[in-house]
């Protein structure tokens, strides 16, 4: 059941990313809402599957953005570390099934977990991007704006979905 629910989250996040949020840049930074698909991956699926999935999500976003490899490399690397980071904030041994959510691990742990992932993702992504065009102030601004927007929107989604 949680796999089906997760596939819905995944499709929603990627579609919103490529059709909406990619077209709403604020001073060059965009909200990377597809990171939700990385955050919420169910804990019962194996790390190898999580990593492959991270690659595929990044690759689809890449094709829409004409940036082959950029989002894929970022997402696959973040996904490789996701479970390690999750264990830093969540030491509940009971949590072996289901999507990572606020209800499962608590508001504070979820906020810290998602902020860590988002900070990692944005920094890595824009550093990879800056290999083609390096401009330090622009790089910093993009990272800062993207982190704030992404974190804000991810938390809003989390609150909206946990109301049900």
């Amino acid at each position: 059941m949680s796999i089906l629910l997760y596939i819905l989250w995944l499709l929603l996040a990627v579609v919103l990313q490529v059709l909406l949020f990619n077209h709403l840049p604020i001073f060059g930074g965009v909200a990377l809402v597809y990171v939700i698909a990385l955050l919420k991956a169910p804990v019962e699926i194996s790390r190898v599957v999580q990593i492959v999935m991270g690659f595929l999500v990044g690759f689809v976003v890449d094709i829409f953005c004409n940036t082959p490899g950029m989002h894929a490399l970022t997402a696959v690397s973040v996904m490789a570390l996701r479970d390690v980071i999750l264990h830093l904030y969540n030491d509940d041994p009971e949590f072996k099934n289901g999507l990572v959510s606020m209800q499962q691990i608590g508001l504070s742990a979820y906020a810290r977990f998602s902020l860590s992932i988002i900070v990692m993702h944005c920094i890595l992504l824009y550093i990879i991007e800056s290999f083609t065009l390096f401009n330090f102030p622009v790089l910093l601004a993009k990272i800062f704006i993207s982190i704030s927007l992404t974190f804000g929107i991810c938390m809003a989604f989390e609150f909206a979905s946990s109301k049900k």
């Binding site: 059709l19 690659f55 953005c65 490899g69």
Partner: protein
Amino acid sequence: MENLIRFFTKNSPWFTWLFLAILSIVLLCQTNPYHRSIWFSSANFITANVYDIQANVTGYFGLRQTNDEMLERTGQLEAENQALRQLLQQYQDLGSHSNDSVHHQYRYLIAHVVGNSINQAENYITLDKGSADGVHQDLGVADQNGVVGIVANVSEHYSLVLSVLNPKLRLSVMLKDTESFGSLVWDGKDSRYAHFEDLPRNVDYENGDTIVTTGYTSSFPKNIPVGRIVDTFDGGGSFLTLQIELFPNFNRLNAVHVIFNDEQEERDRLQESIGTSDK
């Protein structure tokens, strides 16, 4: 042996990551958009269709302003047309030109923008015309205001355009009505501005002067508008760099025209035929 297998199974997530990361880096390193596969771009069948559906909805936004700009441009062209007609009439009266010697070198094809970005380090535009409509690499693309980009790659029904907002595009441009030329390059900061590089220091110009294409490359005819000068960066060498405000609004591109250069096709065919006879 057993230890080796245990090592691999224990670390399988890291090996998966390593393999996929290397794959991504290989994709990243294919930096030349002309050589990249069209299937990994937004002009592939599925992606372009998704963008096409979206553009059908959002394409109506901002139409009023586009319409006003087009009307203004039509007015300008009408005036130009009148002036040229008079000039042609004068030549015909002098007997130096017959009507059929007026040669139409360039043709235009209207295309719609289905995908576009302005905030990335390298920006591309997806158009709804492809090889089935005769579009091929290196054709110039402009809208009613000015130069937009150059076709980098085509699929059957869509094409991928290297936007002016892509540092990989260097466009040959000049100050209007002078022959002082340089190249137009985007600096990656703001989608409204680009740099005019390598302008010789001895050239007279003012802020507000218009920059146009040179016609030296086959993609664009001479005198297609590009932008206007707003600022000068003096690096101290024998060349200047100017800040150019671009005429097209890249945030709101809608209908554009792809420019076909018939002479270029003729030249290409000629060169090909020479190439084949050599072999």
